[in-house]
Amino acid sequence: MGLHLWRGERHVLNGLSLRLGAGEALQLLWPNGAGKTSLLRGVAGLLPIESGTVRWKGADTSTDYAAYCSDLAYLGHDLALKGDLTAAENLRYSVGLRRQIDAAAISGALQAVGLTAPHDELVRRLSAGQQRRVALARLALWDAQLWLLDEPAANLDAAGQAQVAEAIAAHLSRGGSALISTHQGLPLPAAFNRLSHSPQEFA
């Protein structure tokens, strides 16, 4: 059937059709302006889809959107971190909206992503790369099955990029799926990793 999506007067996604299995990651290495961001936001339900349906576990996601959301984790260009809260507080408030969480789990997750700055430093004072790490910790804590990541490794140094890849690999090994837009291509375990270089592949 295919997914159609417009941005303004531009027909950005033109009858695209793709599926993602459990434990599988699909990396979109499409060129600039090809519609990666639009696709991810469309799948998340943040952009209205002109025609076609997004299905999750066999059901149309628009029928029980709340249930779909609780399986979903979206990380966009904007990290949704508050500069005036510490990393730990940020996680407490934002993860808390979705599930019950305790302080130990939070500081565990922050350690896991290798945030070297003290956890009670205000996020505003962290550099771009450190902030991405905090967002990564949140992603893990959300405990969702489908990850939608828009350029998760942007602004990250080599160590940071490896950490992102590691986090995603761990997620896949727990049976999760991930749809990732990226320009570099992340080093994921080959068995679960699909690469796409242009939207035409799914037409």
């Binding site: 936001r41 943040l46 209205p48 966009g76 005036d84 809260l85 808390g96």
Partner: protein, 228 residues
């Protein structure tokens, strides 16, 4: 595997978060109050000295200032959470979006409307109102500011993604706020003249209830559209 958060818990987290943020930057929520006080002060300055001693001017000055400073503060209701992606995450949290936005509106009111309602009697006394009018003015402004926050949430949602949304926001909200202004000013005038102000206060309360039931839904629709 993980237990989902209840909607009450979610709302209380939002309130906690906003209050923590406000506590870290006390300057921010003091600003609308300061603006309110300055604007009420501008009127006597811009008027003929004899005229400015008229008590009858006090309700008008108070309410126009209150309305303007609420509208000014509104710009910040969703702006930052929109810009940094927090609202997106609210929309994807699986909780009712309208409910989360109601919680945000509540915290916004606590931080801007409530201080305004508390400062208003002071300003009124400064403009020559008798001390006996204080309770009436306080109640009028409490009710009025709640309904302004609620109405304003719709406008703030609609203008969220828009560059220079501030002026457009006032253009959208001020006409909506006219009933609140009229009834609020009338109640204040009656309080100052020592008459019982129950009738306009009931009308204000009705506006507020109406706002609580409908505004969050409209605001949620508006914000969702702005997020696209």
């Amino acid at each position: 595997m993980s237990r989902p958060a209840s909607s009450l818990r979610a709302a209380s987290l939002i309130l906690q978060r906003d209050l923590t943020l406000a506590f870290r930057r006390p300057g921010e929520w003091l600003q609308p109050v300061a603006f309110f006080l300055i604007v009420t002060m501008l009127f006597p300055l811009a008027l003929d000295p004899e005229l400015s001693r008229l008590r009858a001017l006090a309700p008008g000055a108070l309410w126009v200032a209150a309305l303007l400073s609420s509208v000014l503060a509104l710009e910040f209701l969703f702006r930052e959470d929109g810009r940094d992606g927090t609202l997106e995450q609210f929309a994807l949290s699986g909780q009712s979006f309208a409910w989360l936005l109601l919680a945000k509106t509540a915290s916004h009111w606590l931080l801007t409307g409530l201080p305004l309602a508390i400062a208003a009697p002071l300003a009124a006394v400064g403009l020559g109102a008798p001390a006996s009018a204080i309770p009436g003015i306080l109640v009028a402004l409490l009710l009025g500011s709640v309904s302004l926050s609620l109405l304003g949430a719709i406008g703030a949602g609609l203008t969220l993604g828009i560059r220079r949304g501030g002026a457009l926001l006032s253009l959208l909200v001020l006409p909506l706020a006219i009933p609140t202004l009229v009834f609020g000013a009338r109640a204040t005038a009656m309080a100052i003249q020592g008459e019982p102000a129950a009738a306009p206060l009931y009308l204000l309360a009705a506006l507020t209830v109406f706002g609580i039931t409908l505004a969050p839904l409209a605001a949620a629709a508006a914000v969702r559209i702005s997020l696209e």
